[in-house]
């Protein structure tokens, strides 16, 4: 069990390293990359924004019920923005991406493998790894930070609406309080860490889809593994990356 786990981790790591190496080697699949950027980015936009908004509302309701006991409701906006910038935005966006995009990538590539479409690409002298894997890895890596920004914005907007209904706080004052005391280091490193999450989701999902060889059962396994393993990888990577951010930006840890 332990041996096969390490064996799988090793294979995924090599697969991911190959994706990084091949990303710099021409010919570049620009047209197909744009298609993936659109499918992953635009396709996930509504889910991310809607979830961020709902989370923003719920977060504010919870925070308010606690802070009201201490007479600190004025701090709700900054709690909201810090929570979203530091953790909720990046992590939830990544987990949603793992569910929506990871499962899609795993199932699609596994289906292409089962129906010999990947072999067909190879017979046409086209590098299937570059076409199918590298483009998806780049697209996920680039799009997740962008989607995280939208999730943060939607979360803060949801928080504002919730707070506005309760206390009739103006947008101007809410935004002022939300960003007062928020440093660039509160926003940039956590947002950039989602590029790592995007990379992990894409590599793991592509690995399970691209390397399967078990027909329709392989499609099921690939879709399941893509979601489960990439979600787990995102959470574990988050622990490490948060530690790294605290190391690089000690003020964050206080």
């Amino acid at each position: 069990m332990l041996k096969s786990t390490f064996d799988s981790i090793g294979k995924v790591a090599l697969f991911g390293a190959q994706a990084i190496r091949d990303a710099w080697v021409p010919p570049f699949e620009g047209e197909y990359l744009c298609k993936q950027l659109y499918e992953i980015g635009v396709g996930s936009f509504f889910l991310i924004v809607a979830s961020g908004f709902a989370l923003g509302v719920v977060m504010t309701l919870h925070t308010r019920s606690t802070l009201v006991q201490f007479g600190a409701t004025a701090e709700i906006p900054v709690f909201q923005s810090l929570a979203f910038f530091n953790e909720i935005g990046p992590l939830v966006a990544a987990l949603l991406m793992a569910g929506r995009v990871g499962a899609g990538i795993g199932a699609q590539l596994a289906n292409m493998r089962a129906t010999e479409q990947i072999d067909a690409i190879e017979t046409l002298s086209v590098n299937s790894f570059k076409l199918l894997v590298v483009t998806r890895v780049i697209a996920c890596t680039l799009m997740l930070p962008l989607l995280t920004i939208f999730m943060d914005a939607a979360g803060i907007l949801g928080g504002f609406l919730s707070e506005h209904i309760w206390s009739h706080l103006s947008l101007q004052l809410y935004v002022h309080r939300a960003f007062d005391g928020v440093a660039l280091a509160d926003f940039v490193p956590p947002t950039l860490k989602t590029a790592v999450f995007g990379y992990l989701i894409a590599v793991i999902s592509c690995f399970y889809g691209y390397t399967t060889n078990e027909g329709s059962d392989g499609v099921r396994k690939a879709a399941t593994n893509s979601v489960v393993i990439s979600s787990l990888a995102v959470i574990l990577a988050d622990v490490i990356l948060v530690k790294c951010i605290f190391f690089l930006f000690p003020d964050q840890a206080i």
Binding site: E116, A120, N127
Partner: protein, 250 residues
Amino acid sequence: MSEGQTNAATIAFEQVEKGFDGKKVLDKVSFTVAEGEALCILGRSGTGKSVTLKLMIGLLTADAGKVLVEGEDMAALEEDGLMKVRRKMGYLFQSAALFDSFTLNENLALPLHRLDRNKSPEEIKRCVERTLGEVGLEKDGNKMPNALSGGMQKRAGLARALVLQPKILLVDEPASGLDRITACEIDDLLIKVKTERHTTMVIVTHDIHGARKIADKFAVLDKGRLLAFGTPAELDQTHDNLLQQFIAER
């Protein structure tokens, strides 16, 4: 009907062995296919016919022996070398294996965009239309593969295999899943390609009627071994019961 060794061999199998999970699928198989020749590989299901095709195009690697395509040892080639050899080859899959998220036009344009960067979009469009026209699908270029019948998918798969003007065409079960009339249409298309383009062909089939129309030579595989190799006329002379079951028209 001996194991043929032609000097101008485009494809040569030399004592090729291939197995999966300890089971030998091909056992010391040797034959050659000369330039412009059409070889039909016959045999029962599971005797390694499709594996033979995949070895020829380098999708699989032989466990022992050599697979030579235009003198190149497929197992010894690096990725770039393999791609160069594959540019000379077309492959029609049993299931057609069309890219299901692309239209037919995009299916055919995929290799053209990548392999000939000097071609303008107009040239690529013309090339795609011409190739689809050759298989009678000129009006279906904007359709998705799932909107096509089985026969149309086969023809589209053939168009995609031909779009790079290959010197060698590998065809896996062209008649499978098709009615007799549609299967004959596919056979006629293959004959047209062979006569007009002088394409070397290797066709795996169970359809002896089609095979007799197209083939210059037959290779009969049984239990992983080459049971017989030669022209249809040569094999017709044999009195081997098993062989006759494969090649006799019923």
